[in-house]
Structures are given as C-alpha cells and as structure tokens.
Subunit: 390 residues, 2 copies
Amino acid sequence: MQARVLALLRDEGPLSRVQLADRLGVSRTTIAAEVTRLSELGLAQEAGQAASRGGRRSTLVDLAPDIRFLGISIGATGMSVGLTDGRLAVLAIRSRDCDIRQGPEIVLATALEEARAVMAECGVEQPLGAGIGVPGPVDFHRGVSVSPPIMPGWDGYPVRDAVARELGCPVVLDNDVNVLAVGEQHAGVAKAARDFLYVKIGTGIGCGIVVDGELYRGVDGCAGDIGHIRVEDFGPTCACGNVGCLEAFSGGAALARDALAAARSGRSPVLADLLEQKGELTAADIAIAVSRGDAQAVQLIRDCGHRVGQVLASLVSFFNPSLIVIGGRVTGLGHALLAEVRGVTYRRSLPLATGNLPIVLSELGDDGGVIGAARLISSSVYAPFDGDRS
Amino acid sequence: MQARVLALLRDEGPLSRVQLADRLGVSRTTIAAEVTRLSELGLAQEAGQAASRGGRRSTLVDLAPDIRFLGISIGATGMSVGLTDGRLAVLAIRSRDCDIRQGPEIVLATALEEARAVMAECGVEQPLGAGIGVPGPVDFHRGVSVSPPIMPGWDGYPVRDAVARELGCPVVLDNDVNVLAVGEQHAGVAKAARDFLYVKIGTGIGCGIVVDGELYRGVDGCAGDIGHIRVEDFGPTCACGNVGCLEAFSGGAALARDALAAARSGRSPVLADLLEQKGELTAADIAIAVSRGDAQAVQLIRDCGHRVGQVLASLVSFFNPSLIVIGGRVTGLGHALLAEVRGVTYRRSLPLATGNLPIVLSELGDDGGVIGAARLISSSVYAPFDGDRS
C-alpha cells in the first residue's frame, strides 16, 4: 500500500484522498489512515485544496517537499551526478569526464566527491537514498559488478555496499542502460510505453528492456547486452574477445578508431586537420567533420547506423516493441545516424512489427541517467519490503 | 479467486482446503465458500481424504473429473488434435498431414473433423473450451490471423469466432510457437523456468517467449518472429520477400530444397536414391541420409545448426534466458543438429549469459501443441473475466 501510494504521488503529483482511493481501488478510510501514517513517517503531507468541482473541496496529498534522492550515472568516459526531489525533478546536476578503467576505488571516490558537491549546492545533508548506474553487467540483487568487459578491476566489486557505507543511506546498483531506460520511462519519450527498448550507443553499446512497464533484467542480469551480437563473420577484435561484434564496429571507441585511421590514411582531410589540432579524435569529431562536408565522415556514420539497424531489425522481429529510443553520446552524430538506423530497421523487419514503431532519439541528455537512478532507489525506498520494482 | 484456485488445482493436482488457503494467502472460510461455489458450477469437487499427518484428516479438493478441453495445434504441413481433462492430461490425440496453404475453410474443416472424431472416441459431446495454434502471427485479442507469410488466404480470417460457432464453446487462438511454449511450460522441460525461449524449427522457424511465467506476445502480437532475422546479406528469397532470412536458409522447407539440389547435382548419392524411390524429399530424408553415412547430408545439418546458433546467440545476448527448448519436426535431425546449435550459441555469447544456460530438445512431440492449446483455453475458461492469462 505504502509503495503504491508513494509511487502514484511520485508519478502523477498531488492527488486528493478520493483520487488516491479510486486509483488504488481501496476505501477512503484505508487511504486516510495510510496518509496519516505516511505523514508521521515524513514521506507525505497535505498540500492545499484541490480545485473545487462543486461540493466540499478536498485536500490534496503530496510527497514531503524535503525528500531528496541522489542519482549517479557512470558511463565509460564520463559521469553525471544529480539530486532530485521526491517526484524526481532534477534540482542540481554535475557532469564530468571520468575513465571507468581507473577502477572502482578512484571512480567511486570521484562520484562521491561530485555527490557531496551537489548536496552542498542544495543544502542537503543526507539523501533518502541513492541510485547508481555503471556501464556493464550487474548482479542487481547483490549490488555487485559482474565480469564487465570494458570495466577492468570492477569484477565482483561490492559497489552498492561501498557507496551505502560512505553515504549512510540505501543504495541500488544497476546497469547504465537499465537506468537510462527507466529515466526515459519517467520523464522522457517513453512515458506512455509499456514494452520498449532503450538503445545506448556510447563507448559501448547496450540496451535496456522494459516489459509491461517493468525492467527486464534476464536470469543473470545481463539481458540487453546487444553490443556483442555478431554483425559480421570477421572484423576487429572486441573487448569481449570475439570478433564481428556490433560494438567493435559501431561503438564510440570503434568510431574514434576509424576516424583516426581515416585521418592518418589521408582519406579525410578534415579529420586529419582535427587530429593535428587536438592530438586525438573522438566520435564527436566525426560530427564536426560531417558539418564541414567531409564525405569519409558521412560514410563512417552511415556504416555505424547500418550495423546498428541490422541488429535492431533482429530485435524488432524478436521482441516486437512499441517504441525504440536511441541515446548515448554517439547520438550527437544526429539525424544522419538516425536516418540510416531507421532505414535499415524498417526495411529488414516484417511490416506488421514496424507499422506503428517509432524510432526516436532521447532528448533527456545527462538528466536521463540521474532521473533513472533516482527512480530505481525511490521505488526501493518507497517500498521497503519490495526493493525489486522500478 | 476462481481463476487462482482452478489454476492451482490444474497445475498441482488435488489439494486440501488448508493447502489452498495457505498457497493463496486467504482465510480457510474464504476457500471453503469458494470451493462450495465451484462445486455448484460443476468445476471442482471433493476427492477423498488427504494422507493423515496426525490430527483430523482433511478432505481433498480436485477439478471435476468430467472437464474436457480440446487442443488443436496446426502447423504448416500437419496438425494434431487432442482432448484433455481439466488438468490437461491428454486423453486422446489424432495427428495428420495437412497443408496450411489450402486456406482456412479447408484446414479448419479438417481440424473440426478430427476434433469430432477425438470427442467421439472419448464419448464427449461438448468440451468446456478449445485452444488453437496456427503457424503465423495472430491478433490474440480479436482471434484473427494477421499477414502470415506462409499462410495464403488466412490474413484477417476470424479463426476463433468461426471455430467457436462450430463447436459451441469458448475458443482462443494463438501462434503455434506460443502454444508450444505454454505446453512445454505445463508438461515439459520448461516446468521450472520463468524466463525461457521455445524455438520451433519446422517448415518455418519461430520462437515462443515466456517472461516471468507469462507469454510475451509483443505490441502487435508478432514477437518471436525470428525466422525473418537476417543471417546473411545475400541468399535465397524468403516467403516474406526479403533475402538472407534464417528461415530461407534453415527452415524445413529450405532444407528440403537443399536436399533436392544435393540429390540432383550428384553431390549426395544417398539423397539421389531416396529421391528416386519417393519422388520427393523432405527434411526428414536428410536424417535418413545421415544414418546411411552421407557426408553431404551431415553438412546440410551442420549449416542449418550453425545459422540457428548464430541467431540464438544474438537472442541470448539480448534476452538472457534461463533455458532454450528446441522443438519442431526438424528436431528429428537429432543430436547432430543440437550439437552444432549449442556449439555456435555458447561460443558466440558472453560467458555470463551461457554459464547456466541449458539448450535442450523438446520431448513432448505432438502432445506439446495439444497441451499448450488446452492450457490457453483452460486459463480463459477458469478465469471468465480475465481471458488474457496463460
């Protein structure tokens, strides 16, 4: 009951007791008692009168205004740390570069430093809980990273418990794409979607899966690991040890590698100029080269989109989602990438599955990870005996 | 409540009132009243004394012994029609060849003929309901076939309502692989699995998906349509109009085509002999040729298993299931096929997802489709206001 009342207030805002009773299918007496209990716990409170609809005006119930959640979204090359209120509005956010390969001690110390800075900024001493996303497989129930290909040193590290000890509050740990999918569901384009995919194209490539409104994690917690789906029989060796993986062709690291090769070989004068100026190239430089009319850069984006589209077409045939959201840094490559992804996906899937299937870019940016992480911990805090629901 | 009591009796057999109350978390008074109501409806009854555990012996409750469900499982080239009791034990079953391309009127008339024969055999005038599986996409809620590539003439045909009118009982219609997956869950190797895949390799190739114990159908009802996943950039044209689809390489129809080519080209003397004897070849003849030591036939099976394995590896990365069951006529090709499928799937997936992943052949044979179809309609009949649960 507590979890359902608080989740409803989180997702829909202030509601009257009558509305709460109707939505949850319980009596007004039950709701009144529950609201009193939640007020005593400091989780909910009365919040003014509802607009009159004739008759007696009813009092609205809202979440306590001082509830704060911390959302920590760690990617392969950067992190965002933010503070939200009980309804997951972002009150402050800090983003910075950070290399996941530095290992858990350094990366988590950096995250905690950012967390303390963001809490100081908002005058918060203690959040109600913190959610964390990391760019690799996670044992959700134990709160531990598990054999993450691009995260050397993290295997088996007790991320959840280490951070909980430092912060002195409950913590949940999940895969970064799961966190992003949940953020998109709460505040982004996936609000109305029950069965959708969130595909992140960052340094690596992964996919968050939502089934009937709930995250689907798979039996070992590694569902959505689509970066290692084979797209060619041969190709560059992937971090996982196989060859021909999607990520080894089309992830951010692979694009940076291809951009470098195009600059050095003389195939792309624009990328060569950028390399000379900066000393290195990232996937973002390809977008700059495209904006300067570089044909080789356009080709790199097309190849990336083509292979991502091939994999998405397979997933559409298998999963028949109502929506695909594409996020991650590589989406900075913009509409040329999206056009190619869409073209291949629509062409290679059965018409029945794509007739009403939108494929869209996420618009949440760094907020998405923070909101998603905050939402995961909010569900856990709101439902103290059922930490497994998003 | 009715649905939960009846499903428990269906899946676990006779239980005492005390056991029912404990399992469903309700009071004994509630259960006693519900059992009385179900007895009056003719759905449940008392069934002797439970074994004494000291103290008063309690009376067992069981499903009414005269409950009968009809299960109709239609494939591309054959059908099985069976009658089950309330717990879905198969009482009688009839299987026959039948070409789905004859269209709905002829195929359904044949199915109804078999249904009447099997009912006559068991002395049953009227089943409580019937479940039907067909080899193509289905609009589950409307009970209609939808744009099925290998089922000319079936698009939009109101299968459910047509059969319900003939039989005079409630009917549910689903995709054949969904029906097979549910059958496997009830009586086969998937009994303990919550998240698993049932892959059928018959004339076509499809996949039933079970998430948290429930069928996942996708937003348009065509989830699991893996036969049209691309495995090569070029190749034979598929029934769906694309090229490079798994089904166009490795489905039963494709194998028969390749066997014929091997016979005619002189590459396989054994298949050439079989062709001369029989005038045609099917996928099953490849198994005969293998048993006679034909190298080309072994190669055909290896190629089939290799491509199926490539697709399964992708699905394992995406879905991280706890079990994969392989069924359908092509499994008659046996362990050579399974060995190749397993080899490729295990090699091409991340170790985390395959560490505890069994890939096994279904052992239910024709019974699987009948039990699955009966289970779908039983859930609908047992829960009159919630026909959507398996």
